[in-house]
Symmetry: C2
DNA sequence: AGGACAATCACCCATATGAGTAGTTTTTAG
DNA sequence: CTAAAAACTACTCATATGGGTGATTGTCCT
């Protein structure tokens, strides 16, 4: 049943050539149907909200609203629908913003038709189809970027700053004087190019220094 | 050439049955070789450092040192080697800690041999092979967890707190008085259950409230 | 032997911050 | 329509924070 269930697909893609080609390929493949295709987000949002599909293939570079925004809006309204980005954009911002907006898959436009069909099936079965270079980008984002410019003592203190500890609490937990803590924190700020605690915490968390 | 290049694989797996089976399958497959297999991290680390392989398949639940620690240490020494976790653990901590430690792939032990071989090839070609449920877990981690308990104005202010702005800067950029900013911040702290700016920034970043 | 840096400590001072208290007006939701 | 929430403003006060300056000790590398 799951194997043979029909998967309904909608396409949002501004290039008429590509749009027709994709829609043709999908609709003619057994187990898939594609009755909805749009050239921009605005009409797609209105129409797909009324006629939800199982999967939406979404381009990013669209005339008016970006596909990422489109996903954000549609996913909000249709949490059961799976969104796969299908785009030439492979920059970090596009990838991560798409995932944050609610995309579950991310394919580059050079994906062969057979793999595209397989990806549509995969996303319905609880997977997260991604072009291999995209997958690598995502796993790589978990790695520590560079090694910290901080000394080990400074890292220890930065960690406590992130916990919201104040000078006194840090001093006591490390058995050093509050003045020393301040000296370390000054040095941390200098190395991280920040001037406030909030900025230090942000830099620490975003660069995985803690 | 890339298609037919021989890929050398090492295995770290404590179950002798599985270890021998994997090693046999890989070593007998054309294009793959497996001359190294270990039952725990300590010896694997020493040996693979001396004889680096292209890929290491790493279990997580090992007698002494965990496979995650093993990856952390080995990846540090051998940045060119690709590490694929091969495990039954599918909890969030195992997955994310593995990726942070340096794993590029993550497969569950029910992965069929053909797919395992394909994954080894894929990781060498710049991909990031993952069991579909794991991939879904990772993409899902980018989605906003819950919706923010903050009002829109408060969110706006929280965002500026994360940028390191002080009361005055926030007040000026929002065209409201500094006292109002303080009132909003108090209310943010109450809702986030924090008492300092650093904690607020941390909570905001970790829970993707900004 | 000298330089660079980490780790420790100290003091001054202006400003920022958090907690408490007390309101008004506007918007939203039942 | 009415009650709740959000948004806004204002005040005081004790404490925390950041900037500046200066110093000692020990380690590591050259």
């Amino acid at each position: 049943m799951t194997e043979l269930s029909q998967i309904s697909v909608a396409i949002v893609e501004d290039d008429p050539e590509i749009r027709k080609m994709l829609s043709f390929i999908i609709d003619r493949s057994p187990g898939y149907s594609c009755k909805q295709s749009y050239e921009e987000c605005e009409s797609a949002i209105a129409a797909v909200k009324k006629n939800p599909t199982d999967v939406v293939l979404m381009d990013i570079g669209l005339p008016k609203m970006s596909g990422i925004e489109g996903v954000r809006i549609l996913k909000e309204a249709l949490p059961e629908t799976d969104f796969i980005m299908l785009t030439i954009q492979d920059d970090n911002d596009s990838v991560f913003n798409s995932l944050c907006a609610g995309a579950t898959g991310y394919l580059l436009k050079d994906t062969p038709p057979a793999e595209l069909l397989h990806s549509i099936r995969e996303v319905r079965e609880g997977g997260s189809p991604m072009s291999s270079s995209i997958a690598r980008k995502i796993t790589g984002s978990f790695r520590r970027t560079a090694q910290s410019p901080l000394s080990s003592r400074e890292s220890e203190i930065l960690e406590r700053l992130c916990n919201g500890d104040n000078y006194k609490a840090i001093a006591e937990s490390l058995f050093i004087s509050g003045n020393t803590v301040r000296a370390h924190i000054k040095s941390i700020y200098r190395k991280l190019h920040v001037t406030t605690r909030a900025q230090a915490v942000r830099t620490a968390l975003q660069n995985r220094l803690v």
